[in-house]
Symmetry: C2
Subunit: 135 residues, 2 copies
């Protein structure tokens, strides 16, 4: 086995110190149900990329069954389904996001980005309160 | 046992339907450590209100030990402690937030409010994609 890649030797200690980062998680809850959350959004992105629930599940290290259940739950939570079997052309159909799926995915990612941009200064101030551990 | 309170009879079904809501959770992570998160922020608020870790823990349904450990972890994560024993006046000292504790608490709540305000329209659009279950 080849040795693990090493960092440039000039910055050994500094490079090992993690920087504080803000992690923002959004969920749409409806009573006790989580209709939309970060896991379902990642799955939508993977389905958009791979055009197959099987391949999307594999890319996320998730069982097909779990991916299917998440898609089913999401489809039932929304006013229209987010994912559907695509019409079969050459090589068969596969799976695709519907206009509703694209809308939910786009809004979710836009809100995340807008929130981070709108609060940039205060986020920096909050991160600056955290001590960097000596590595 | 007295009967459960009932809703006014005019809106029986409608009142039972939950409305979709956005839940936003922020964490400041530093490597594998969660330096600041919703639980610690709630605890800071309770300490500010009750001026005692014991009373704050009780108000949150948390053991004193757990509250103490969270405070200790937070104090170590920040550049200065967030919570300290207050100087004893009449009736003894108690516990208070330091200027650093007030700063972290204020920034966190401000960022939450700013993020929701900045994204109000897109949040409404996202909530509008979710079906209201028939109750």
């Amino acid at each position: 086995m080849p040795p693990a890649p090493t960092r440039p030797s000039k910055t050994p200690a500094r490079a090992a110190r993690p920087r504080p980062q803000l992690r923002l998680r959004m969920r749409v809850v409806c009573g006790d149900t989580i209709a939309i959350g970060p896991g379902k959004i990642e799955l939508l992105e993977a389905i958009q990329q791979h055009r197959s629930i099987t391949a999307a599940a594999k890319a996320l290290g998730m069982s097909y069954r779990r991916a299917w259940l998440l898609v089913d739950e999401l489809n039932r939570s929304l006013k229209e389904p987010a994912v559907e079997a695509a019409a079969g052309g050459t090589g068969g159909g596969g799976t695709a996001l519907t206009p509703m799926g694209l809308r939910v995915l786009g809004l979710y990612r836009d809100i995340e980005a807008q929130a981070q941009a709108a609060c940039r200064d205060d986020i920096q101030r909050l991160l600056a309160t955290v001590a960097r551990p000596d590595a």
